[in-house]
């Protein structure tokens, strides 16, 4: 039923090339930051993975609502796949932030509003994946996970806004900064170019992984339908 798709192959290869290019941009093209030094280069991947996490959860929200409205299975496949990718990228975001914070804030972790809300978001979507795994009946599972996907999304804008509404030590590089923030810096033109490039690379990578993952999900559901038929005959 699912043959290999030339367009998907093209996307896979191009995201591979883009990643190599973005590594060059981040490690060589971008200038060294004066105060923080080389560690600042983590920033590009940190922001990109955070952006992909938010995008992935937004896709989960939209497809969950669309599933409840249209009852089309395909939307459910996209929702679960996107949530899974979102959890991976949130993990990358948290780990890279932690590695950066060790030299700059002199601690791996602090209960700052931004870090707290990001942790809550991460836990929420892990719970979403648990819920998906814990429900056996497919039809019922789709409705229930769709509702939880909507409920969980409330944490995403909260995480995004956390560094903008509360007093926090997390830097706001894009937009106005809090005077309390530590590790603040101004971006040069080359830095902006590098950031935009890595964000676009990650976006392409996200859609490539999503496509692969949705195919796996459809195959999986097809397989369990066949299994169901086999036992009922």
């Amino acid at each position: 039923m699912l043959r290999s798709n030339p367009r998907l192959k093209l996307m896979t290869v191009s995201s591979l090339i883009l990643i190599v290019l973005s590594m060059y941009m981040v490690l060589i093209y971008a200038p060294r930051e004066v105060i923080m030094g080389e560690i600042q280069r983590i920033f590009y991947y940190h922001v990109s993975s955070g952006w992909i996490a938010a995008l992935a959860f937004l896709v989960t929200l939209i497809t969950s609502i669309m599933f409840l409205a249209t009852q089309n299975e395909r939307h459910d496949h996209i929702a679960i796949s996107s949530a899974e990718i979102g959890v991976i990228f949130t993990t990358m975001n948290i780990v890279s932030g932690s590695v950066w914070a060790r030299p700059v804030w002199n601690t791996w972790w602090t209960w700052d509003p931004r870090l707290t809300t990001a942790t809550i978001m991460w836990l929420l979507y892990i719970a979403y994946l648990f819920l998906h795994a814990g429900l056996e009946d497919h039809d019922r599972r789709r409705h229930i996970t769709a509702v939880y996907g909507i409920v969980a999304f409330i944490s995403v804008p909260l995480t995004f806004m956390a560094i903008r509404i509360w007093r926090t030590i997390h830097p706001v590089v894009i937009g106005s900064a809090d005077p309390d923030a530590e590790g603040q810096f101004d971006m040069t033109a080359r830095m902006t170019t590098t950031l935009l490039f890595t964000v676009s690379t990650f976006t392409v990578l996200y859609f490539t992984i999503l496509w692969h993952r949705v195919r796996i999900q459809s195959l999986f559901e097809y397989m369990s339908k066949l299994q169901h038929q086999m036992y009922n005959d």
């Binding site: 809550i120 929420l124 819920l131 814990g134 409920v151 969980a152």
Partner: protein
Amino acid sequence: MMNSPVITMKSPMYNNDKHPTTGQYWRTVKTIIWKDLSIEMRKKTLISALFIFSVMVTLVFTFALDLDKSTKDNVSVGVLWVTFVFSSTLGLNQTFANEKKHGSLEGMLLAPIDHTAIFVGKFISTYIFVIIIEIIIIPMFYFFYGISLFSPLFLLIVLLGSFGYTLVGTLLTSIAIRTQVREIMLPILLFPVSMPIIIASVQCSNAILSGANWGQFSNAFNLVIVYDIIFIGVAIMTFEYLIQE
């Protein structure tokens, strides 16, 4: 002209109209609340178990933290909210477990009533149990920790905070009972969703009890109210999808 008698089925509660009137809706809600309360008044298992449980949790915290006077003042509000959260979670697990027995949930779903009325009824009856538990816990805290908790603003934040927690809890319990590991699934689903309201309630309670002025906790207070309002909307809109077979 033939005037054949037409027999129409009319339920005592409803017209065969699809949309019940407000009066009918609240009568259904009241019936469900009354059912839960009268079961509890006869069995008395839930309240007594929760009472023992909350005494235990309070004592375990007292021993585990080995509290002296200064630590006590700092952590007692946090411990109080943890006790609320733990006992409400147990209570939530129990209220829907009763409905699973003897297929009574299916019975309610088959009845010609608006499904959100089931949600509202279950929510209010659970909220009543939670308030009863809080009425027991608060004097107990006064007794063990020696902090005065009887300020009206503090009691208001306890009511608003547990309102939001129970609301989300009722919604998520109706999800958790569908899974195979339902007692474990409820906290996994509920704790992260309710984290914002718990954090905000603890901040508010601490500020109120240490005599801070309104400006210092208005943000957290507003967050509690916003959370309550958002989840009233989310619960009413989504419950229909959760409950249908």
